[in-house]
Subunit: 140 residues, 2 copies
DNA sequence: GTCGGTGCAAATCCTTTGCACCCTC
DNA sequence: GAGGGTGCAAAGGATTTGCACCGAC
């Protein structure tokens, strides 16, 4: 439950934190920008400031509850951490995001890191293309 | 040669474009931010404006001569396109960037894209960790 | 000579921060 | 009651843009 998650992260239980976290747990969209979240919360009549949304997202990310992604570099997108790591396929036309996990790729990455004497911390694999939607599935 | 590259990209030959492109061809660093490039050019006494550096980098990227990377999301880094695709290993401590290519990972990506009916355009794989430098090679 | 290229400063976008006030513990 | 949390507006960093001038073709 939201409150326990906050507690175990060592964060004070404040209305705003509960509101943001509940929203993330209940929304359909898994990948949202700070702006998306702030806008939606306001539309829902929630009483949260923009700065607070940014602050809470940073705290949840530091606490490991959220992951931050820069698909295109312009702005950050957040998703609830799942217990299983995954990578992303992004449709360049409609923006749809598919999550996938491939054990072979994961293992190769580990081997490559070892080969270069690097101790791996994390990685981001973003694949961009056009999805099966007829509007999207075309030659670039 | 720089001028021919510009011509074949359909870009007018201007001093500023030649300066930026020459700089990129001659520098040791393969991954540079717009700020890095602007600063170095000015230090070299070159007569280029900041806006022009940004514009030229965008044009060279659109022309396929440069690749833009957002390793951490804060700002863009540019590298001259090589004829061979590669991915990146980044040291979180010293910032060193290792380029690598792994045919196995490339192929798996293709297979995964097909599995999700996506027509792949490009991808970015960024691996982050700590390099073999004693200062860097530690547990996080 | 034309039309795109440039420099400067202002504008924009996303995000962070300073500060006075508020609320959790 | 203390110390962190919040909202607002202002500041910040990276990048783009408007506009008058300049230069390549």
């Amino acid at each position: 439950m939201t409150i326990n998650k906050l507690k175990s992260a060592g964060l004070k239980i404040t209305n705003q934190r509960v509101i943001v976290l509940n929203y993330l747990f209940n929304t359909q969209e898994r990948h949202l920008s700070a702006e998306d979240i702030f806008r939606d919360l306001r539309l829902n009549g929630e009483d949260v400031g923009q700065a607070t949304v940014y602050r809470v997202l940073n705290q949840l990310e530091e606490a490991g509850m959220l992951e931050r992604h820069y698909f295109d570099g312009s702005k950050a997108y957040y998703e609830l951490s799942s217990n299983s790591h995954h990578d992303h396929l992004v449709c360049l036309h409609c923006g749809k995001i598919i999550e996938f996990f491939d054990p072979f790729i994961e293992q190769r990455q580990q081997e490559i890191a070892e080969q270069y004497d690097m101790k791996l911390s994390h990685h981001n694999l973003y694949m961009f293309g056009y999805c099966l939607n007829p509007d999207c599935h075309r030659d670039i």
